[in-house]
Subunit: 345 residues, 2 copies
DNA sequence: TTCCTTAACTTGAACGATCAAATCATGCAT
DNA sequence: ATGCATGATTTGATCGTTCAAGTTAAGGAA
């Protein structure tokens, strides 16, 4: 049990000073080649590993990156956060970092800021990864003011994007655009959009992609859009509303898989609503967003975000900022999603 | 920007020594009431918070608990891990701990053990939380040998349960037992079981619950059981096999929601298999296991594990072991699941 | 030779906390 | 009075690392 090999043990065994060992490991260029090799051999032999707590004390760096784990909302869209965390953790390990989890109660931004404060006072993570940016996000300004490094999965929807903090995002509009084109190519002409209340950056962006795809082929969007809370039941009601109001609609693009699932309930199990209208059966194509496990399970066509790539980009960007050049300007990366076509449309 | 308030700052401001401040915070009973109060006031005023890195150096305790984040398998059962992590993180915060994530490539136990080694050498978590224990689990013996505290979500399937490490588990047999009774109460008599290959502790346990529920009412299980890999497509094939072989079967209990989903594909969209057998339509009740988001989405009756409780029990047990009495014997907690009845059965 | 520069390495201090032992009162029995 | 246990507080050392400054030796220019 060769427990607790310290840098001093290595120094003694290699016949050099502590500092030389430290240099051989962290600043190899200042150590003579031969010495470096000898030290590294001893390190290997004794199984030395730096004690991060001690290093942190001296350098102030913990090699910890904090990320939030959300309470699953409806459990459907939750899987995005899961994949994201997994991606973060994997890339973090490759870059010599670890992911530290935190939660925040429902108090919104302020609740999360309180969590920041707690963490910074105790475990002192080197950086944060934030998800779900939104208009007037107070979290980003709080961190910026304090000079705490962070990246966001999501654009800053309010500030001018030119300056500001580094971020990675998925081009939601491109996703719904592709979904809409796909439906057009299958012959659909009246294509509705089932979205969230206006004012959310993400939701508005996704609606915009649908709008512009229709506009490009000269189709308007009047009466084709409705909005509701992001859950299955509301989605079902909203879809019914939309389909009842306009009997010509044959396809729906949805802002999330939750909504799409609600829409599918209407599309697949035709109810009295349009029996009354004279349609014994009315096939409506549905496209969701996020390609969650549920989408796969029920054969729902959906827009897939490259979550793994987003995660590793976020983390690499942080690692670069923390370890490498602090001078480089914050990067902004917009990744394209892809459409996964299944039975629903 | 009153950055970096140290214990020395507090000591100076309160007119006492560093050690007294430390005592006032960590061992209040040795400090005079009046002094304690004065120190605590200054702590409040200056916003002092212990530097965990420094403390860790001295005490060897990081207040970090490591847990693995799995790569989502089929994405369906993955949500269990997600809920579990969330529960851990919440309870951890309440107990003054944080959850540190790690991943392990596909190398099985040895891969995870390598991750243990890495973590212990670097961030030195105080304990581990393991999931998915199985026969001959090498991880638990590795940790035990090294005296690293840990709990498992899952019984030790090999060792005698009396001694050993602390664990928390859900009574899977009770779950399938309840599911089977439920089906019996609805009039089903020939109830099949769709499970995993024998030899997995969890799978065998779940099959046993089904078996004993049938046995209690005098029913046998011959020809009612089949096994397959835990995924949707294999589940579908296995279900078809079982239903084809025995036309009397009217209900299926499944070892997971993935399998149940496969079974539902057969049950809800009757194929030629029993058209040929003379049944134009054959309603088969299906019950899954885990109550994943997919189950909720498609109306699948499923056995719900109290994941949140499992997580908080795991964590409280660790916290107790780490902070409180080290003398207490390891606890073993078997929690009952509950049946969530939906349209599928 | 003497001085200066540079490369290679060493030494002492410091990060911020806690442990262990020492100090200083205080009260009480002898 | 003296001694002694007890309670409250302080002092010095230490955890393992890296920073900043210091030392040593070798090489080159004056």
């Amino acid at each position: 049990m060769a427990d607790k090999v310290t840098i001093a043990d290595v120094a003694r065994a290699a016949g050099v000073s502590r500092q030389t060992v430290s240099n051989a490991l962290n600043t190899p260029e200042v150590v003579r080649e031969e010495t470096r090799r000898r030290v590294l051999d001893v390190v290997e032999e004794l199984g030395y590993r730096v004690n991060l707590a001690a290093r942190q004390m001296r350098t102030g760096r913990s090699r910890l990156i904090a990320a939030r784990i959300d309470p699953e909302q409806d459990g459907i869209n939750g899987s995005v956060g899961d994949r994201f965390l997994h991606g973060l953790t994997e890339t973090a390990a490759a870059e010599g970092y670890r992911v530290l989890l935190y939660t925040a109660k429902a108090n919104g931004d302020d609740g999360e800021i309180a969590a920041f404060d707690d963490l910074l006072g105790a475990h002192e993570p080197d950086a944060f990864v934030l998800m779900a940016t939104h208009h007037g996000d107070r979290r980003t300004s709080w961190l910026t003011e304090r000079g705490v490094p962070f990246v966001t999965f999501g654009r800053p929807w309010s500030e001018p994007t030119a300056a500001g903090h580094p971020w990675v995002d998925v081009d939601g509009a491109a996703g719904t655009d592709a979904a809409t084109r796909h439906l057009l190519s299958r012959g659909h002409r009246r294509i509705g959009f089932l979205g969230w209340p206006k004012g959310s950056g993400v939701g508005d962006d996704r609606r915009e992609g649908w709008r512009r795809a229709l506009a490009e082929v000269g189709l308007g969007t009047a009466g084709l859009f409705t909005e509701t809370e992001d859950d299955v039941a509301p989605g079902e009601q909203a879809a019914r509303r939309l389909l009842d109001a306009d009997p010509e609609i044959t396809a729906l693009v949805c802002a999330s898989d939750s909504l799409a699932l609600g829409a599918l309930h209407v599309a697949r199990a035709p109810g009295p609503a349009w029996h009354a209208g004279g349609h014994p059966h009315r096939p409506v194509a549905v496209v969701g967003f996020d390609d969650t496990p549920v989408a796969k399970a029920i054969g729902l066509t959906s827009v897939r975000q490259p979550i793994g790539e987003v995660a590793s980009s976020c983390l690499r960007q942080l690692a670069h900022q923390l370890d490498g050049g602090a001078g480089a300007p914050p990067e902004h990366l917009l990744l394209p999603p892809s459409l996964v076509v299944r039975a629903s449309g």
